[in-house]
Every structure is written in structure tokens, then in C-alpha cells.
Amino acid sequence: MRISLSPKKITLFNKTRILERQIDEFFDKVAEAGLVFSRALKMYLAVGVCDEFDALLNQESDIEGKADTLRRNIEMELYAQTLIPDLRGDVLRLLEDMDKLINMYEGNLHRISIQQPDVPEQFHAGYLELTGTTVTCVELVVMAARSFFRDINSVRDHNAKVIFHETEADKLSSKLQRAIFTSDLSLERKMHLRYFVERIDDLANAAEDVADTLAIYAIKRRV
């Protein structure tokens, strides 16, 4: 901490502003990753692995890489400038947990690209609905995380919505799995399809875990 006036002071607040922007950009990346994921899944269900799908997969990898760089920068700055010493640990864990969500999106697209599951048309709507709910769930946790930084009192509101959507995702996942296992497909296909249902639902579960820890951080952050 420096106390010298004007020039340093301006630098100090400038650095703070840059860091604030980086944190916002990082959260933008998480939300963006969700949108790309749902578009890619829609594309896969409609056409299968194609050029557009590959482009979306590349875009997802790109987002993941940028988010990683941003996260590392933020973490470095927080430690180098000894910022928010009392909450630094919490913020780092929050960023890492959010980063895992991006990794999960990217990982799922890779798995689809490699394993190319054969999804019968009767299950397309189920997959799309589950993906939509999961992506909304993640978007809501992004909003909760942004609130943690700017408006602590609305963290709780967003968290409540995250929990609601996670429960919805669970229900959709069970419904879809039941439909898969009551169908005439062979067991290996059933298990393959179930695997992807679980992977997508895992995103909602992970988002809920982040919301739970955020609730604790929010209590700690109170004045």
C-alpha cells in the first residue's frame, strides 16, 4: 500500500479499475461458454459433427483459454498487490470454481466430438430442454457471482433461482434417463446416452455447489 498522493493514487485506482474489468470479462466468458455449448449441442443433434460444430468447439476452446489467462492475471494481481486480504482466498476459489464450469462445457463438447453418441430423435427435445435449464442455471450463478462483487444483498435472490433451476435440471435428467431406459435401444446405447445426460446435469450440480459456497462467502463479506 502506498500513500503518496496524486500520481500513485491515480495508478492505484486505475489498477483497481482494470482488475474490476478483468473480473467482469471473466464472468462474461463463463456465460458465453454456456451459449456456445447450447448452440453446439443443437447443431450436433440436428446435423452431427460438421464444420460448424467444429467451429463452435474451437470457439469454446478459445473461450476456455482466454478465461484461464484472465483468471491467472486476476489471481496474480490480487496477490501481488495484496488486495482484499481477508476475502482473497474466497475470491480465488470462486474464480477457480467458475473456471471449472467452462472446462466442463468444453469437455462435454470434446466428448461429443470424440464419442459421437447416436441420439434418436425422440430424445432430442429432452436433451435440448435439459441443456437449456442447465445453461440458465450457470447463467444465474454468474449473476450471483457478479453480485458478490457489487451488490451483496442480491446474491441470495440469484442463489434461490440457481437452486430452483438445479432441481428442475435434476427432474429433467431423471425423466430423460427413464425415457431412455424404457426404450427399445440396446443396453450399451442406453448407457452411452445416459452418460451424456449425466454430464450435462453435472453442470447444474456444479453451479449449485458454487451457489452454496457463494452464500457462505456473502455472509463473510457482510460489513
Binding site: 500500500m1 502506498r2 500513500i3 492505484l12 485506482f13 483497481t16 479499475r17 482488475l19 474490476e20 473480473i23 495484496t82 488486495l83 482484499i84 486480504p85 481477508d86 476475502l87 475470491v91 458478490f148 462483487f149 457489487r150 451488490d151 444483498n153 463479506r221 457482510r222 460489513v223
Partner: protein, 494 residues
């Protein structure tokens, strides 16, 4: 100034050093402990502002200590400060929260007992009352401030990082204010006992600004405090940061500001004058304990949050400290003075004489003390105010207030208004009319201090106390200080 004087001042400097080492932690402990502010920044800000506070605003609280007991020999002051310093050191070592204010008050009472001087019960009551009030007040201020801060922050929607940056500046600002208040309020503890025997003389910095002897004394004391901050407070800061209660940087800020406001309230002469001029009751200027103000603020916030985090054992410790500290310091001072006087052959107090001469009787009658009430004692002479008090309480039915008047009036204090002193002393604190009246008294000699004040009052309305009303309070207070300054200047040493 000879070497002996410096050595004798040493005990005060030691006390100042230990104050700096301990109490700087109250101001910057949480900020440094939570790593929001680096130790070097904290130490520089703290050192500079302690010195400013002491030199600019230190006089108010020192006056009250002076009223409690005016130690009139430098060896006596040495022992009082040493007894207080040893008490502070010993209590800190045994892990009890300790207040230099309480230690020095105890030591002064020890000196009063040894020199058989009367302890001004009015000043003592005022001090004790303030000690009780200051932690409670700190708690209340902390709660209000916390509520206000919470309200503002909930509406400001500041980004966590921006809030963090602002909090750092706020912590440094609050620390500077805290250090200033600490210097203003607590310099009296360190150097107050040396004020009546200050070896310095007024020193003109520019034509307008004079550094008075007291300010020079306070400058020296506050430098000792600053050295204490630099050399020893880091460790204390790092422990204090986590010791009291888990605190967020903003809570820490609230605590520091509440503590600083309390110390400032009990030290600010400016505020006292403003209140007096507005006809409002004034706040007594008394050295209070910085640690207890912090603990008061923390407990206030703890109660606000439901009281689960508060360690009530701390209250018991404070209670113990309140009782033990003054008694221990008084006892140490008494024993120390005995050794200093009888083993080292030092004069630890001036021999005084009190006599109820016909002049005194006349003046007392004018102040409403009936002569018949003490007729048997007229013409008697006493070696100490304590001896006079004994006789007055044993043989007369005078009230406490009348006894105080008798002791004040009967004190023999030979004064001589010499041409040399008139021309060599810096009277910049007096106005033109006051100076002219004073010049007219050249060559006069007096037995009692009040004779000089009477003579001056007869010469100029600028030397006449105004009727006791709130609007006149600051004028009369200033006049009292001017008279005290003249008495010190023209006193004939015996």
C-alpha cells in the same frame, strides 16, 4: 538544560516509548494485522500525527492532570513517570490490559500522599467519571457509525475491489486521526507531570508563532512515542489485529474512528470553546485510556451482532486493571519517592507554607467563608496543604468547597514583578491591555498569588474574571491560564 534534567526527563520518555509501543496498536493494529496497510506506512503516519496532536492540542488534558496534583520538583515528576512506566510495563508483562492514564493518575496521587498535598477530589471525580464513560461512549459511537456505514455501503453498490481500495485510504485516514487524538489526549500522561517543572523556555519560531515551553516538552514526549511506534509496536500490532474479535477491514475502520472520536472529544480545547460559546455543557478534558476506548467500541459492535462473539472475560480484566493499576502506581511512586528523597537526597517536592493571616481571612470573608467558623486557626502556619486540611476538617465545620477556598488562599507563594523578568519574558500570549496593566506593577512584591491577580483585576477589565456564565467560560479559563503563567514567571525561588 543540564544533563541531570535530561536524565530526569528520561522516565517520561520511557513512559512515552511504552505508550507508543502499546497504544499505536489501537490505532493501526487491525489495519496492519489484516495486511490492509503496511507496517512502514502505518508507523510513518502514526509517528507524524502523534507528534502533531501532542504539540498542537496536547494542553487541554494536561491541565486536568495538573489540577489533580501539581508536582513541583523535577525529581518528583521523574518518580511519578517512572512509577507509571514500571506499572504499565509490569501489567503488560502479566497480560493485563493497562492504561497509562490510570497509571499516571495513580502515581500523581502517590506523590500527593508523599508530599502531604491535598488531592483535588473534584478533578479526581471528573477523571474517574470520564474513565467509566469513555468505553461506553466509544461503544455507542461505534454502533451508530457501523449502522451508518452499513446503510451507505448497501446503497453505494461499490465493487469489492473499489471498496477495498477506499477502505485502505479510509484506514490510513482514520489511523492519522487516531494518532492525532492519541497524541493530543495521552501526551498529558507522558509529559503532564513535567509541565510545572518544564526546563524549557518559550521559543519564537516566527513572529506570529511561539513554541511554548510546554509544547517543547510535548514535542520531546511525542518523539519518544513515535520511537516507541517504530521500534516496538509491530509485534503488538500483529497480535492485536486478531486478538479482540474477528473483524472485517470495515469493522476495523469503525472501531478506529470511534476510538479516535472519543480521544478527541476528551482532548479538544477547540471543541470545548465552541460548546462553551454556544452555551452548551462542555466535555471534560481528561486523558483517557486508548485501549479501553477500543475495547468499548469492539464490545459495542459485538453486542450489535448479538453478543455471541464478545469475550466477556475481557470485561473482568478491565475491571481488574481499573483497580490494580492506580493503586500499584501510587504505591510504587510513594516508595520510590521515599528512596529518592532519603537515599539519593533529591528534592522531590518543594516545601510549602500555608498561613491563615488576617489578609487571607479578609479575602475568605469576601468569598463567603465566615471567620467565626475557623477563628481558632487564624495565625497558624502549616507545612503542607494536607496538614491544613486536617486541621480545617477536625476543628471547623467548613464545607468541602470552603475548605478548598481556604487551602487556595492560604498558600504562601512569594512573587516579585522585576524589571528583568518583565523585559526578558515572552508575553505574546497576553493582549495589549493586559501587558500595559502588568507593566504598571513593576517592582511590586506579593506573598500570595491571589494578591497579584487582585492587583491586575483592579487595573484592567482584561484581567477581571467575568461572571460565571456559559458564554464567559472560555474567557475565564484563558484568564486562569494567564494568571498561572504569571505566577510561574514571577515566582521567587526559595
Amino acid at each position: 538544560m543540564d544533563l541531570t534534567v535530561l536524565i530526569l526527563l528520561g522516565s517520561g520518555l520511557f513512559l512515552g516509548w511504552s505508550l507508543g509501543a502499546n497504544d499505536a496498536a489501537n490505532v493501526f493494529g487491525t489495519a496492519v494485522g489484516t495486511r490492509m496497510v503496511s507496517f512502514s506506512t502505518a508507523a510513518v503516519v502514526c509517528g507524524v500525527f502523534v507528534i502533531l496532536g501532542a504539540v498542537i492540542s496536547g494542553a487541554g488534558a494536561a491541565n486536568t492532570l495538573g489540577k489533580l496534583g501539581s508536582i513541583d520538583a523535577i525529581a518528583g515528576s521523574f518518580m511519578a513517570a517512572l512509577a507509571a512506566a514500571v506499572t504499565v510495563y509490569g501489567m503488560t508483562r502479566s497480560g493485563l490490559p493497562v492504561s497509562t492514564s490510570q497509571a499516571i493518575v495513580g502515581a500523581i496521587i502517590g506523590w500527593n500522599l508523599f508530599s502531604d498535598a491535598v488531592t483535588d477530589t473534584l478533578a479526581l471525580t471528573k477523571i474517574l467519571f470520564t474513565w467509566m464513560v469513555s468505553p461506553i461512549l466509544a461503544g455507542l459511537i461505534a454502533v451508530l457509525l457501523f449502522k451508518l456505514t452499513e446503510w451507505v455501503l448497501n446503497r453505494a453498490h461499490l465493487h469489492l475491489l473499489r471498496l477495498d481500495a477506499y477502505t485502505r485510504f479510509a484506514l490510513i485516514g482514520a489511523g492519522a486521526f487516531g494518532a492525532y487524538s492519541l497524541g493530543a489526549n495521552n501526551i498529558a500522561n507522558v509529559m503532564g507531570v513535567f509541565v510545572p517543572v518544564s526546563p524549557f523556555t518559550d521559543f519564537a519560531l516566527t513572529e506570529q508563532y511561539t513554541l511554548t515551553s510546554v509544547q517543547q516538552l510535548f514535542l520531546l514526549g511525542s518523539i519518544a512515542i513515535a520511537i516507541g511506534v517504530f521500534t516496538y509496536s509491530k509485534r503488538v500490532m500483529l497480535t492485536v489485529g486478531s486478538e479482540l474479535m474477528p473483524m472485517s477491514p470495515i469493522t476495523a475502520w469503525v472501531v478506529v474512528v470511534a476510538h479516535s472520536i472519543v480521544l478527541f472529544l476528551f482532548a479538544s480545547q477547540g471543541l470545548e470553546h465552541t460548546l462553551a460559546e454556544a452555551g452548551l455543557p462542555t466535555i471534560p478534558l481528561v486523558p483517557v485510556s486508548s485501549s479501553q476506548a477500543v475495547i468499548g467500541a469492539v464490545i459495542g459492535l459485538g453486542l450489535l451482532k448479538g453478543g455471541r462473539n464478545v469475550r466477556w472475560s475481557v470485561l473482568v480484566q478491565i475491571g481488574t486493571g481499573w483497580v490494580v493499576t492506580p493503586f500499584l502506581a501510587a504505591a510504587l511512586c510513594f516508595v520510590g519517592l521515599f528512596f529518592l528523597q532519603n537515599v539519593f537526597d533529591q528534592q522531590v517536592y518543594k516545601s510549602l507554607r500555608f498561613e491563615l493571616t488576617p489578609q487571607v481571612v479578609l479575602r475568605m470573608s469576601a468569598q463567603g467563608v465566615p471567620q467565626v467558623a475557623y477563628a481558632d486557626l487564624i495565625g497558624r502556619s502549616y507545612e503542607s496543604s494536607g496538614a491544613l486540611l486536617d486541621d480545617l476538617t477536625r476543628h471547623t465545620l467548613l464545607t468541602g468547597k470552603q475548605v478548598r477556598i481556604a487551602i487556595d488562599q492560604a498558600k504562601i507563594q512569594p512573587l516579585e514583578i522585576t524589571r528583568f523578568k518583565l523585559s526578558s519574558t515572552n508575553f505574546s500570549r497576553l493582549n495589549e491591555a493586559q501587558r500595559i496593566a502588568l507593566q504598571l506593577l513593576e517592582g511590586q512584591q506579593y506573598q500570595y498569588a491571589w494578591e497579584l491577580t487582585d492587583a491586575l483585576s483592579a487595573l484592567s477589565p482584561q484581567w477581571t474574571p467575568r461572571p460565571a456564565a456559559a458564554v464567559n467560560r472560555s474567557f475565564n479559563k484563558r484568564l486562569e491560564e494567564d494568571f498561572a503563567y504569571l505566577v510561574k514567571t514571577f515566582e521567587v525561588s526559595r
